[in-house]
């Protein structure tokens, strides 16, 4: 890598002459700045003066790009020349819910192309919601020091890309595929890891919906003594899981695959002692998987429950009773994900035992508006009373009351993330029939550390006045089917001093409200508004007044323009102007 300044030249005659004072200062600065790890601290340091800016740029090892279109690869990589770890985020979160046509962008190719020139010593890469091709992976695999690849919610690649990474990255320690869409190119990528001992520490592939060749996986695990995290996909049966576990008792994180037998096991068949395999894993703290669970096998995990800090049952269709049999041992549990099939009774069991719970996510087994969700305000209340240290909650339900939400705001003052999804649109408090304004108001008033909020249910502009006024630390706000008028959005844009990410859908907010945010859009990462009341003219006004804002109008796949309203507005600040790769359905104003 190129140095930013020339190295000190030795004087003639061989005598040592000390470097000039400026350089001493810079050396010292660099040494000191190395200890700064948090990027916000680093950003602050970089603003002090030019030499601090330069020194910080040279000592930053981890580069974080929150929006891949906010800065061009060249600019980012030329400033931070010595970074060895890069994180890039692409599409906005609402793309996960099919609110954006698939080929919108967030292509990784321009980044990796530049990395091939500038960042050949790259060691770690984390991408979220990016479009990554097999060719990109191939290029990445050619970097000699590359050792950690984490892909979250990405798509565009397949098992052939994985095969190249497996075979060419000799130093690979981490390969984490989390909720990606991986095409099945019918390549046995597991077999592509080279023979001999590997340095694999983490192999996560539970989202890969392709069968794997089990014998190759077994051999791989057997020759990976450093393997601590292993998350299998649903094509691994419980018998196969057993075989892997006895080869890797050192695991700390395990994703169990299907957790069911591959064929019907007849009565009297010899089955391995699964519980002994779990018993042997003395270090296991994180358990997930259970993709096609046969609940009869649940008792196998009892031996590890007491040590678990993280348990993910969010694919396991189990009842309250079945959950109770497990959860009663999980005293140390901090992170718990579960399906609503466990009902309020199951949540009560969690509240009774898991006093250390920090994060709870309750997902719906039937994710439709008119489904009968078996969890309600009763479960939420129980959790709030039992789990006082709760910091983060995501809760899908059909019936909720202001009272339960208010109770949670009072019982759980440590809440940082509160995401409530009442699945029926515009549903009020099911007891009082009032809007959910007071509940959400209480959350922002009482939870002083709150940084992320997602609303649902019937909400009037009053809810937004609460949010704007009391949401002092709120960085991320998600709104859907809420509010009465422009006033609602105005409250938020005029309040919430720390707002960074605002995503709104199907709410009656229009151009007038949009204008009230002009003073702050440069300080935000993005604004998303879909199916609201924005017009093209209103959006164009914003674009004209804010030249460093990229204002994208995204149309749905329909040919005809239904009315004057913009389908989707997605706008974000950018140092390098509008992107060159916008598809035809995106208009950049």
């Amino acid at each position: 890598m190129r140095e930013d300044r020339p190295p000190p030249t030795p004087s003639r005659g061989g005598a040592y002459s000390p470097p000039p004072p400026d350089q001493v200062l810079e050396n010292v600065l660099e040494h000191v700045l190395q200890f700064l790890t948090f990027r916000r601290d680093r950003n602050a340091a970089a603003l002090v003066c030019r030499s601090w800016h330069r020194a910080e740029a040279l000592t930053r090892l981890e580069l974080f790009i929150g929006n891949c279109y906010a800065v061009a690869p060249r600019r980012a990589m030329e400033r931070f020349r010595r970074a060895t770890a890069v994180t890039i985020k692409g599409k906005p979160r609402f793309a996960d819910f099919n609110l954006m046509p698939p080929d919108w962008g967030a292509n990784f190719t321009p980044w990796v192309t530049f990395m091939a020139q500038c960042y050949r010593a790259l060691e770690k890469l984390c991408l979220k919601r990016m479009f990554v091709t097999d060719e990109d992976l191939e290029l990445l695999a050619s970097f000699p020091s590359f050792r950690e690849l984490v892909l979250i919610c990405c798509d565009g690649f397949g098992t052939s890309g994985l095969a190249v990474v497996a075979s060419k990255c000799r130093k690979l320690r981490v390969l984490d595929l989390i909720e990606d869409e991986v095409t099945d190119d019918e390549i046995d990528w597991i077999s592509c890891f080279p023979e001999g001992e590997t340095c694999l520490e983490s192999l996560i592939f539970d989202c890969v919906e392709c069968p794997i060749y089990f014998e190759a996986l077994e051999r791989l695990v057997a020759r990976s003594p450093s393997l601590k995290k292993l998350k299998l996909n649903r094509y691994v049966s419980i018998v196969q899981l057993y075989r892997l576990m006895i080869r890797a008792p050192q695991l700390t994180h395990l994703g169990t695959g299907s957790f069911s037998p591959s064929e019907i096991v007849a009565q009297g068949d010899q089955e391995p002692d699964y519980s002994s395999a779990f018993d042997a894993c003395r270090s296991l703290v994180c358990l997930s998987g259970f993709r096609e669970i046969v609940p009869d096998y649940l008792p196998a995990i009892y031996p590890v429950c007491a040590n678990l800090t993280s348990l993910n049952f969010s694919y396991a269709n189990i009842s309250a009773e079945q959950l109770r049999s497990v959860i009663r041992y999980c005293h140390k549990l901090q992170i718990f994900w579960v399906l609503d099939t466990v009902c309020d009774a199951g949540l009560q069991a969690v509240a009774a035992t898991c006093k250390d719970l920090r994060e709870l996510r309750v997902f719906p087994i039937d994710a439709r508006e008119d489904s009968e969700a078996p969890v309600s305000d009763v479960g939420l209340l129980a959790i709030s009373e039992g789990c006082r240290k709760l910091q983060s909650i995501l809760y899908f339900c059909q019936r909720m009351t202001n009272a339960a939400v208010i109770a949670m705001s009072e019982n759980c003052p440590e809440l940082v993330v509160f995401r409530l999804c009442i699945m029926g649109r515009h549903l009020p408090d099911h007891v009082t029939r009032e809007p959910m304004d007071e509940g959400f108001g209480a959350i922002v008033k009482n939870c002083k550390k709150l940084t992320r909020l997602a609303t649902s249910g019937l909400l009037t502009d009053r809810a937004f006045s609460y949010i704007g006024q009391y949401g002092k630390l709120v960085r991320t706000l998600s709104v859907a089917f809420a509010g009465d008028s422009d006033t609602g959005l105005k409250y938020v844009l005029e309040g919430c001093p720390r707002l960074q990410k605002l995503e709104i859908r199907d709410s009656p907010f229009g151009d007038s409200a949009l204008r009230t945010g002009l003073h702050r859009y440069y300080n935000m990462r993005f604004l998303w508004m879909s199916s609201c009341r924005l017009t093209r003219r209103g959006c164009k006004e914003i674009a004209q007044q804010m030249p460093h804002l990229v204002v994208e109008m995204i149309n749905g796949e329909e040919e005809e323009v239904k009315d004057d309203y913009v389908d989707t507005l997605y706008m974000y600040r950018s140092l390098d102007g509008p992107r060159a790769d916008a598809p035809s359905f995106v208009t950049i104003l």
């Binding site: 609402f94 996960d96 819910f97 099919n98 609110l99 698939p102 080929d103 479009f131 091709t133 919610c153 798509d155 565009g156 909720e179 869409e181 095409t183 099945d184 989202c207 993709r291 096609e292 969010s314 694919y315 269709n317 099939t341 997902f363 719906p364 087994i365 039937d366 994710a367 439709r368 508006e369 008119d370 489904s371 009968e372 899908f396 999804c421 699945m423 649109r425 998600s478 859907a480 089917f481 859908r505 199907d506 749905g556 796949e557 329909e558 005809e560």
Partner: protein
């Protein structure tokens, strides 16, 4: 004429040979067993005519799912709501049935669609469509460079008309093929729409010339199935 055709097709068939010996005799019998096949077609046709069409343009905003007369109509589902990632929704709909999921309308039927030469694949929910023509329109929008040829009045490939079939397969147009529950690759359009939705696991859109090997197998399959 038909015998000649069968031999041509067999000659360039890329797929594995037919199970069991005496393949020549078998295929001949299948081809001349057209009447059996068309009887089946007539049976299925009546069923299809009952169903009403759904406006495809509404699909993006709020698709209305019209059910069989026996079941009450479900509420229109809004795109992307509730905000559960499609990855998770899809996984849940793959799971074996329980008391809860039995109550649903059968959930979605997401299948992967890949097209030869396209850089990425798509996922489509087959239950959003009511006929091959609607499906074809939707696919055409997604992969705008290909065409699916003519599906005829019944909405199915006219296997009876061999020359039409050969035209389709010989053209440089793309044809959609699918992998069914038994793992066999078939030409899309060979079975009634409902049956297709039930049995289709994934789709591949390939050049007409490559799909030639599939046609006679599709016909046998129908015969053995019906």
């Amino acid at each position: 004429m038909s015998n000649l055709l069968v031999e041509d097709l067999r000659g360039i068939e890329l797929s594995l040979g037919l199970p069991g010996g005496g393949s020549e005799a078998e295929t001949t019998v299948k081809v001349t067993g057209k009447r059996g096949f068309s009887e089946t077609v007539d049976l299925k046709l009546n069923f299809q005519q009952i169903q009403s069409a759904v406006d495809l343009n509404e699909k993006m905003k709020s698709p209305t799912k019209e059910k069989d007369p026996a079941k009450p109509p479900a509420k229109a589902q809004v795109v992307g709501w509730p905000p559960v990632r499609s990855f998770r929704k899809n996984i849940m709909s793959q799971k074996s049935t329980t008391a809860e999921t039995d109550k649903t309308s059968g959930g979605a039927a997401f299948v992967k669609v890949c097209m030869d030469g396209a850089p990425y694949l798509r996922k489509v929910d087959l239950k959003m469509y009511r006929s091959y023509q609607q499906f074809s329109d939707a696919l055409a929008k997604m992969f705008s460079s290909f065409t699916m040829g003519n599906y005829g009045t019944q909405g199915m490939i006219d296997f009876m008309n061999e020359s039409k079939l050969m035209d389709l397969l010989n053209s440089s147009d793309y044809v959609p093929t699918y992998e069914d529950k038994d793992g066999d690759w078939m030409l899309v359009g060979d079975v009634p729409w409902e049956m297709f939705v039930e049995s289709c696991k994934r789709l591949r859109i390939m050049k007409g010339s490559e799909a030639i090997g599939l046609a006679p197998r599709a016909m046998e399959k129908c015969k053995s199935r019906c």
